[in-house]
């Protein structure tokens, strides 16, 4: 999966993965529990970013409602848990399948449109679910709901922060593995070809709509997985997890990291969280209360990436490696 340790890109990626793999040991050694919770959120968000990249990066479909899958996956866990179905063996597949089904519904309608209309429709569908969640009085409405974590018998205890982190990390690795295979498999090439020129792909005989819809469902499934994990991370669900701001953050992460590259979304997620967590106290140091406005610094940074590093962070580590799906 990692192209080569000899290329700067391969080396940087390997270092990052090793660092993430041993993070719980580090945070324990330095007694920084808070950092592990940030690390967990980074890993979960990276799964969502990788899943968005499947359609945004490889497919060229700017879906502006991807955080809805955080919500769908999260609420599947939360609602089942509320009704005393605490088994993860039931909760997790339900969360993933419902997310995939919802993605299919959204895709079936939105994929008939293009450009700005596509963006608006995906956003509208996400807002629809958001307001449904806000209206669910039984499940906490606006305030959300505290839930019990999923149970997997004696196999793993999700209340243990390190165990849960490692589970998320393994799932991230699995998601990356799948994405790396998918990008160079027949299916991925159809999706990427359609991004390049969908008219040409249709004229070659590909029913492009069908493949894009399948990619949408696939992307939704992995997004749902991220939502399932996010609900378990905080033992809490609320409509805020799928606000349109989160959808925007996910797009920013993918663009920042490098669209259509395998590890770009991971770089982007790490950069996004590290900047958020460091700019905040840094600005507060300068002047009490400024930390809240960290995006005033983050915004111009994004502009710089857009202007000078079009391929995102991934492009800073040398030329794309096509063989490995960095198309």
């Amino acid at each position: 999966m990692i192209a080569s340790l000899r290329t700067p890109r391969g080396l940087a990626t390997a270092l990052l993965l090793v660092l993430l793999a041993v993070l719980p040991l580090l945070t324990q050694a330095f007694d920084q529990r808070y950092l592990l919770s940030i690390g967990t959120r980074i890993v979960i968000w990276a799964i969502a970013a990788v899943s968005l990249n499947m359609i945004l990066g490889y497919g060229g479909l700017v879906s502006f409602g991807h955080a809805v899958f955080f919500g769908v996956g999260g609420y599947a866990v939360g609602i089942l848990s509320y009704h005393d179905v605490s088994s993860g063996w039931i909760q997790w597949p339900v969360g993933i399948v419902v997310a995939a089904l919802w993605a299919t519904v959204v895709g079936a309608l939105s994929l008939r449109t293009r450009g700005l209309y596509f963006i608006m429709i995906t956003l509208a569908f996400a807002q629809l679910v958001y307001y449904i969640a806000v209206g669910l009085e039984a499940y906490g409405a606006d305030d959300g709901l505290n839930i019990g974590r999923s149970r997997f018998g004696g196999l793993i205890d999700l209340r243990d922060k390190a165990s849960f982190y490692w589970l998320c990390f393994v799932l991230l690795c699995g998601t990356l593995w799948f994405c790396g295979r998918f990008a160079n498999a027949r299916f991925g090439l159809v999706i990427r070809g359609a991004k390049s020129n969908d008219l040409r792909m249709t004229a070659l005989g590909f029913p492009v709509f069908r493949y894009r819809l399948a990619a949408f469902a696939l992307s939704g499934a992995f997004g749902g997985l991220a939502g399932v994990l996010l609900a378990n991370e905080g033992a809490y669900i609320s409509p805020a997890m799928m606000s349109w701001v989160k959808s925007g953050d996910l797009i920013v992460i993918v663009v920042l990291g490098g669209m259509g590259t395998l590890f770009g979304p991971l770089y982007g997620t790490v950069a996004f969280f590290v900047l958020e967590e460091s700019l905040n106290p840094l600005l507060d140091l300068l002047h009490k209360g400024w930390g809240e406005y960290w995006q005033v610094v983050f915004g111009p940074l994004l502009v710089l990436v857009a202007l000078y590093a079009r391929g995102g962070i991934a492009s800073l580590f040398g030329t794309p490696d096509r063989e490995n799906g960095h198309g």
């Binding site: 027949r186 004229a203 070659l204 029913p207």
Partner: protein, 250 residues
């Protein structure tokens, strides 16, 4: 007379008050090169769009390979053996020449819901793709990104992509557009080498090429067929000379 491979019957397409296709009935026989010519604005592009399925006609029918395909979507027509090249070069610019043709091969190799195996190492796709590239003389350019190919090479690549599925009818939308004299002659020679093995509907402005290649020619003016016949008949047809060739093209 052989059953026509492609036949339109009184095809009509209106854009507002403009009759872009006015009761057009044309036939392409198996194995023949049928040229469609006409001055700018004659409705050639609209007609091509209806044949490929990008534009839906207001009236009339299109039959292909013995089936009514009038309402069939583009990709399904391609599956039946109706391949096309584009007037404005349409290759997948970010992909290599070989990837382009391999994708064309893949389009005819069953469904593409395969998520894990590396398609770029799949000899059932790469092998035929390499042969297809060699056929159009691009073997040496296999690993070059399509965007880096010269205009003439991109046109050749388009033909290789159209041929990948072994189509029964090749719809060539101005294959010589933007080509120099030498490149054009190359293309004419190549198309002639394909003659007989598959039918072609050739839309072309280059009259030399048309008269060299075509078995039959249909002339379209203001959306209507004003003449159809052998190159010799078209050359001497008074209406054609007045409407079209009078412009000094021949």
């Amino acid at each position: 007379m052989a059953e026509p491979l492609l036949a339109t019957d009184r095809l009509v397409k209106r854009y507002g008050g403009l009759l872009a296709t006015d009761n057009v009935s044309i036939e392409v026989l198996p194995g023949e090169i049928h040229a469609l010519i006409g001055p700018n604005g004659a409705g050639k592009t609209t007609l091509v769009g209806q044949l490929t399925g990008n534009v839906s006609p207001d009236a009339g029918t299109i039959r292909f390979a013995g089936r009514d395909v009038t309402r069939l979507p583009t990709h399904a027509r391609v599956r039946l053996g109706l391949a096309r090249s584009f007037q404005i070069t349409a290759v997948l610019r970010e992909f290599t020449a070989l990837d382009n043709v391999a994708l064309a091969v893949q389009a005819h190799a069953g469904h593409s819901f395969r998520f894990l195996a590396d398609a770029r190492r799949d000899e059932t796709l790469r092998g035929p793709a390499r042969r297809g590239l060699a056929d159009v003389g691009l073997a040496a350019r296999a690993d070059t990104p399509a965007a880096a190919l010269s205009h003439g090479e991109q046109r050749q690549l388009e033909i290789a992509m159209a041929l990948a599925g072994d189509p029964r009818l090749l719809l060539l939308d101005e294959p010589m557009a933007g080509m120099g004299a030498e490149e054009s002659q190359h293309m004419v020679a190549f198309l002639r080498s394909l003659k007989g093995s598959r039918a072609m509907l050739l839309i072309e402005h280059d009259m030399d090429a048309v008269f060299q290649l075509a078995d039959r020619i249909t002339v379209l003016v203001y959306g209507r067929v004003i003449a159809s016949g052998t190159p010799a008949e078209i050359r001497t047809n008074a209406a054609v000379r007045q409407a079209y060739l009078g412009e000094g093209a021949v």
